[in-house]
Amino acid sequence: MAQVAVRNVVKKYGSLQVIHGVNIDIADGEFVVLVGPSGCGKSTLLRMIAGLERISGGEVDIGGRVVNDVLPKDRDIAMVFQNYALYPHKTVAENMGFPLKLKGRPKDEIAAKVKKAAEILALEKLLDRYPKQLSGGQRQRVAMGRAIVRDPQVFLFDEPLSNLDAKLRVTMRVEIKELHQRLKTTTVYVTHDQIEAMTMADKIVVMRDGHVEQIGAPLDLYDRPANTFVAGFIGSPAMNFVLGRLEGRDGETVFVSDHGTVLPVPAGTAPRPEPVVYGIRPEHIDVRPGGIAATISVLEPTGSETQIFARIGEDPLNAAVRDRVASRPGETIPLSIDSQRVHLFDRQSGKRI
């Protein structure tokens, strides 16, 4: 186990720069999730930590040792790839025991460790099979097993669940989390799925275009997103954004959208001349008498909650409510916004005000 530090790391492919000075501090035993849209450089960063890509600038530090020039085999890390990268010509047991075999460990020790890992992951019955004889979920488990027999300093996962179906994904998510709680090994986990990030992480790193947008605990990111990108990325369904200004009216500050809709803001907000972005999460909008009148465009009942796609004047607003909604599209309903949970961002920079 070890802490990991990424300091001012830069990655260039020729003249193309894809990572622009990233800083991340990962404490010993922490579960860190790198999340961001496709192509933002998550895999590249992970592969630099693993040593599979050269680091063009800055340094990566694992357990107090700068590893820029250390070969992957000497970094004492284990990695699980998106497509699992099992050795097709080796059985499950051989796949899992391979790292130990390379270290020249005695056969019975390898067998014992493989057995133990197989028990943890419910793979005992599959030890003699070849990868092609396994289902996707089983392969995924074998790849995890190979990682845990190592007892490495750091686990690296690159979208390990993205090839599984939705249900299995949830199961494996829980299993990985349990495993981490049990082993307490420092983990860096890459995903583009913000739900995975929210549910698994101790700390989330949100990336975009090779920059870190925000680092923080899942609920911090949810409650206080640093900018519109993070606000829109974290949380599902996504946050509503309305463009407008903060104006003073009758001694109180209100938000007035570019289309003229007036929306409430947190108490104590000062008016400002610069245009702003008004953000409110769908789950913080409720249907309540006395709310702002909105026209329903589409209703999406999911059973546990109902999503209402509505319009206030020209401004689209999406609400998610626990109760069933009796109204129909085209009708008007009163929407009430929880003004304490409104997020305001500067429109120019996108930064939180």
Binding site: G51, P72, K73, A78, M79, H89
Partner: protein
């Protein structure tokens, strides 16, 4: 439902060609092998003599010797070609200036007819004319005379075969290497494997089918080499490079002993099959059994 007749009709031309040019001659050779037939000998008529031709083989020292040198030749040639071919394939996997040109040039020997290869090498090695003896003489003071030196002649036939056929091995192994997924290799690096361990535990097992297929192809080819060696050494000096193909040729054409020649051909075919089968049993079958379990 698709008609079976149509399928057979489509196959008919191929089957006909195979029958006329493949199966019929083979049956004819088999037929001749059980006869005494030497149209220019004392008894020119074709007469049935049972397995006598085959009996004669067992006591034919020249034949046994030719089998021995053929196997030696095939072994050295094929082993060197596989190793060299693999190394070249690995080289072509890397980026270096002039790679495309080098790769093209390196495959040129493949398109040269064996008889031409033989003549060119003959020209290059003829004492006092060829460039190779000249260079060896001026650089190392070594006198190369493949007309006299049995060892040198043998070695030269092996080198010629390597020169001619290594590109084939390179191309097949390169294709195999290029088709490998890259994740297992990255995984192996992370698992702690060094270069040699990656080669031994990952690369080799993964390109093993390609290697085996290439070994079979090259082995069968090497066992029936005739034309190149005929041009280069004519089987000499003595019988040092008289590989079994040449041996058959000598018996069938100059000596016109067709029956005996046919018998040798049949036996050589049989030996080739047995050797490939042994290789298969030793290398391929146990693994497939293991995987099927």
């Amino acid at each position: 439902m698709r008609s079976n007749t149509v399928g057979w009709l489509m196959l008919a031309p191929t089957i006909a060609i195979l029958a006329v040019f493949g199966i019929a001659p083979f049956i004819y050779v088999l037929y001749v092998a059980f006869h005494h037939w030497n149209p220019f000998g004392a008894d020119p008529l074709m007469t049935y003599n049972g397995a006598n031709n085959f009996r004669r083989l067992v006591f034919d020292r020249e034949f046994l010797l030719s089998i021995a040198v053929t196997i030696k030749f095939a072994f050295f040639a094929v082993v060197s070609e596989i190793i060299l071919g693999y190394l070249l394939a690995q080289l072509f996997m890397r980026e270096f200036p002039g790679r495309g040109l080098f790769r093209t040039v390196h495959t040129l020997p493949l398109i040269v007819a064996p008889i031409v290869v033989g003549s060119v090498w003959r020209l290059m090695t003829t004492p006092s004319i060829g460039i190779i003896p000249y260079l060896l003489k001026t650089w190392f003071g070594y006198d190369l005379n493949i007309g006299r030196d049995a060892g040198a002649a043998f070695l030269l036939t092996v080198i010629m075969d390597i020169w001619h056929w290594t590109p084939l091995v390179t191309l097949t192994l390169l294709a195999a290497l290029l088709s490998l997924p890259k994740e297992p290799f990255e995984q192996a690096q992370i698992d702690g494997a060094n270069r040699w361990q990656i080669f031994w535990h990952i690369t080799l097992p993964m390109i093993r089918p390609a290697i085996l297929a290439t070994v079979f192809i090259r082995l069968m080819d090497a066992l029936r080499t005739v034309d190149e060696v005929w041009m280069l050494t004519s089987g000499g000096p003595g019988a040092a490079t008289r590989y079994v193909g040449l041996h058959i040729w000598k018996i069938v054409f100059p000596k016109t002993d067709y029956g005996y020649g046919a018998a040798i051909s049949v036996i050589v075919l049989y030996l080739t099959l047995v050797m490939c089968w042994l290789l298969y049993v030793a290398l391929v079958a146990p693994r497939q059994k293991k995987e099927a379990e």
